[in-house]
């Protein structure tokens, strides 16, 4: 028998295998075309901006290209004492061009991110350098402002010489690379980012735990009560969920402030006296209360949808097999709700860690979180590369939580409904 007769042919003479492959290929293209809009959407609105953010946070070519001669001359400088005349001369020549092209303002903004006080001395230099005489630039530059004779400023300049840098990430954890190339902490009175990171983590974790403790019984009630009660309860969960965030935050402020309704009630029932009203707003208590209430539905809803699918007969079976109600709950019911707990906790935690308005309004002195700081750099200092770096650090923190969760519980276990 020849090999050709072994192959099964379709009616139009093409081998079946090939014909099938063709048909499958067509299907694959169709399927791809169906998801293509979504894929495109994700690439454009998600992957691309994150890539751009990553790039922005390490890209420092602008400063490198602005001062080519200076950085060339600085290669020989060890950073210990004030640089030699040639560095000053190179800097003068570079800067002169920038002033002529009116690009020196950008350099001033950029350098001020690295070292405070750079802006005004660069501007002063821009005005004074027009009258500089040839030669001895070191003396002339140093006479413009006393800060030019401070080696710190020249070190800061040298730090900006590489085209790509991770210094923004170091800054995000209150570190910097000193002149010996060692990574050290910034002075104590300026270590603000670590405080903000810890506070953000603290509040996010606390709110997640509070939401879980309060959401679990509510979800259980919702899932087990007869329809006419559970519907009413459901409305109680959903109504605040649909109310504007600002309205809810403002109501908490009215309720909880020292002269507020809750405190008035406490005084009225004699729990506290008029001058010992507890502070429940503009501090951590206020933040926890308001954020927990706002994020509670995100915990209740996934829990509810999971609990709804658990048959009540399972608990009865557990009890009839001799378990106490607690054992039946712990051994039978609780493990079945774990997918919902996972979903709810992750949702609340991730929302809480990037929370912005509520802590700013009700948090008082300890109210600003890392997201407020990112917004500050986005809006006011315009240091977008630092904001990007912190944004990415926050994102990788969230991904870290996701990874840990996956290792501990398994992400396939998650269930939103």
């Amino acid at each position: 028998m020849s090999s050709e007769t072994q192959k099964i042919l379709t009616t139009d003479g093409i081998p079946l295998e090939e014909s099938l492959r063709k048909a499958e290929k067509k299907n694959k293209i169709k399927a791809f075309l169906l998801v293509a809009p979504l894929l495109l959407f994700i690439i454009i609105t998600y992957i691309f901006p994150i890539g751009e953010m990553l790039f922005r946070s390490v890209d420092d070519r602008m400063v490198t290209n602005m001062l080519p001669k200076t950085f060339e001359a600085m290669k020989k400088w060890d950073g210990k004492e004030l640089p030699q005349e040639e560095v000053f001369e190179a800097f003068y020549l570079d800067y002169k061009i920038l002033v002529e092209e009116k690009r020196h303002g950008k350099l001033a903004t950029q350098m001020n991110y690295t070292k405070n006080g750079f802006k005004s001395i660069l501007k002063k230099l821009a005005r004074k350098q027009k009258k500089f005489e040839e030669g001895n630039y070191k003396e002339q530059i140093m006479s413009v402002h006393k800060r030019w004779a401070n080696v710190e400023y020249w070190r800061a300049l040298k730090r900006r010489s590489p085209s790509y840098t991770y210094s923004k990430y170091l800054k995000g954890i209150d570190m910097y690379e000193n002149e010996d190339g060692k990574i050290v902490q910034v002075p104590e009175d300026r270590r603000v980012h670590k405080i903000l990171w810890m506070r953000t983590l603290n509040i996010a974790l606390g709110v997640t735990i509070l939401c879980f403790l309060m959401g679990y019984p509510i979800a259980h009630l919702l899932a087990t009560l007869p329809m006419k009660y559970s519907n009413l309860l459901m409305i109680c969960v959903l109504l605040p969920f649909w109310t504007s965030l600002l309205v809810r935050t403002a109501s908490w402020m009215i309720l909880l402030q020292q002269q507020g309704i809750v405190n008035d009630f406490f005084v009225w029932i004699g729990l506290v006296t008029d001058d010992t009203r507890p502070e429940m707003m503009y501090n951590k208590t206020g933040t926890f209360v308001a954020m927990t209430q706002i994020l509670l539905p995100f915990m209740v809803l996934p829990l509810y949808s999971v609990m709804k699918t658990i048959s009540p007969s399972l608990m009865r079976a557990g009890k009839s097999l001799g378990g106490t109600p607690f054992v039946a709950f712990w051994k039978v019911y609780f493990p079945l709700t774990v997918p919902g707990i996972g979903a709810g906790c992750l949702l609340v935690f991730i929302l809480a860690i990037g929370y912005y308005i509520t802590p700013a309004l009700v948090g008082g002195a300890s109210g600003s979180l890392i997201s407020n700081h990112i917004a500050f750099h986005m809006k006011f200092t315009l240091d977008w590369s630092f904001a990007s770096a912190m944004g990415l650090m926050l994102l990788s923190g969230v991904l870290g939580v996701y990874w840990i969760y996956n290792k501990l519980v398994g992400i396939d276990n998650i269930k939103l409904g």
């Binding site: 950008k106 903004t109 802006k119 603000v192 405080i195 903000l196 986005m378 200092t381 315009l382």
Partner: protein, 371 residues
């Protein structure tokens, strides 16, 4: 009927396109403030030039305009900005640099524009709009005695109770030093000289920290301008710093028992900046020149207690008293620039803050975290 509605639809569509194509778009802070701008000089200018002026709200900062510029789709022509933003925007090449006396008309008596105001402009890209004050106020129902000086704001022995202060370091460090006994000097020069040293900054931070940790004192930090009067009204605090226009609104506009204290006030300007390469740059420039002339600026003070930046506008107001929109309140005594309010003041130094804002902000946050 159907034809008619179609026609109408096309017409309105065409109208909306043309009007937005040649309207001048101004971004400002919204609320009563934008209202005063619109009624005071926006609408009259639009009518005089025949160019519509659209007002849009934003919440400050340069991120939006920078993003618009990077995307190559600028939609704003003029922005109402803080002093430090005019500096940053000018450096970044976002705003147009002015040739001041050529671009802006002189005062009615012929004084050139560049000499018609209280102090110099922070950058070449800025033209003044209003002068406002960072002062403090108290609720006369909740305070025994009458606080008169900036020292009283920090005096918890005589005036026990919580204080509301601005959430970031800006102006807080200045008033702390002023209350700690440093003489302001001309326009607050001595305060800023002290703040240029580590010791001075530490002294200011310590003063604030002492106030906030004092069991008889304590601090609430406000973030938006409406919070100061609200906190005073609810009795949450006994004294609050804030912007004078907001306190004025609460007292005169709403009849609240709030009293302002002008001692140690921080005078600050609000500016307009013209966006380089905006959709309608030439019209915007004309509109800006007209909106900031003597008559027009005085117009906005009819609606809000912020002083016009031109000295000559004050004369217009004085001649027209009672100037407030209710027709019975004299406006000039409520201006931050009124002589009796200017006995002890500092000018908020934009250059200082754009130089040191980040570092001081970090120190401030670190101090707050330790409260």
């Amino acid at each position: 009927m159907k034809k008619l509605s179609k026609l109408l639809l096309t017409l309105t569509f065409a109208l909306s396109i043309t009007s937005s194509a040649f309207a001048v778009v101004v971004a400002s802070w919204g609320g009563a403030y934008t209202e005063s701008q619109k009624l005071g000089y926006g609408d009259p200018t639009a009518a005089a030039l025949g160019v519509p002026i659209d007002w849009v709200d934003y919440s400050g900062g340069l991120s939006e305009i920078k993003a618009q510029k990077e995307a190559g789709a600028i939609v704003w022509d003029i922005i109402d900005v803080f002093a430090s933003d005019t500096i940053t925007g000018c450096d970044e090449g976002i705003f147009v640099e002015f040739d001041f006396d050529k671009d802006f008309p002189p005062a009615p008596d012929g004084t050139p524009a560049s000499e018609d105001f209280f102090t110099g402009m922070p950058s070449k890209c800025a033209v003044g709009n209003i002068l406002y004050s960072w002062n403090y106020a108290y609720n006369s129902n909740n305070v025994k005695g009458t606080p008169k000086t900036i020292k009283d704001f920090f005096n918890t022995k005589k005036f026990p109770g919580k204080r509301a202060i601005y959430k970031s370091a800006l102006t807080n460090l200045e008033i702390a030093l002023a209350a700690d006994g440093i003489k302001a000097g001309k326009g607050g020069a001595k305060i800023y000289k002290a703040l240029n040293t580590e010791k001075g900054v530490q002294r200011a931070l310590d003063k604030i920290k002492k106030l906030c940790t004092d069991p008889k004192g304590g601090c609430v930090f406000w973030a938006s301008g409406s919070q100061g009067p609200e906190l005073l009204m609810s009795g949450e605090v006994v004294m609050a710093t804030g912007w004078n226009g907001r306190f004025f609104n609460a007292t005169i506009g709403e009849g609240a028992p709030i009293v302002q204290v002008w001692d140690g006030q921080g005078l600050d300007y609000e500016y307009f900046a013209l966006v380089k390469g905006g959709p309608n740059e030439s019209d915007a420039k004309k509109a800006l020149a007209m909106m900031t002339n003597t008559e027009m600026l005085a117009g906005s003070a009819k609606y809000i207690a912020y002083a016009p930046w031109r000295k000559s506008s004050i004369a217009v107001m004085e001649a027209g008293e009672p100037w407030y929109k209710d027709g019975k309140t004299n406006m000039v005594p409520h201006m931050p620039t009124a002589p009796q309010n200017l006995k002890n003041y500092f000018l908020v130094d934009a250059e200082f803050w754009s130089d040191n804002g980040t570092e001081l902000g970090e120190k401030w946050e670190a101090m707050k975290a330790g409260l």
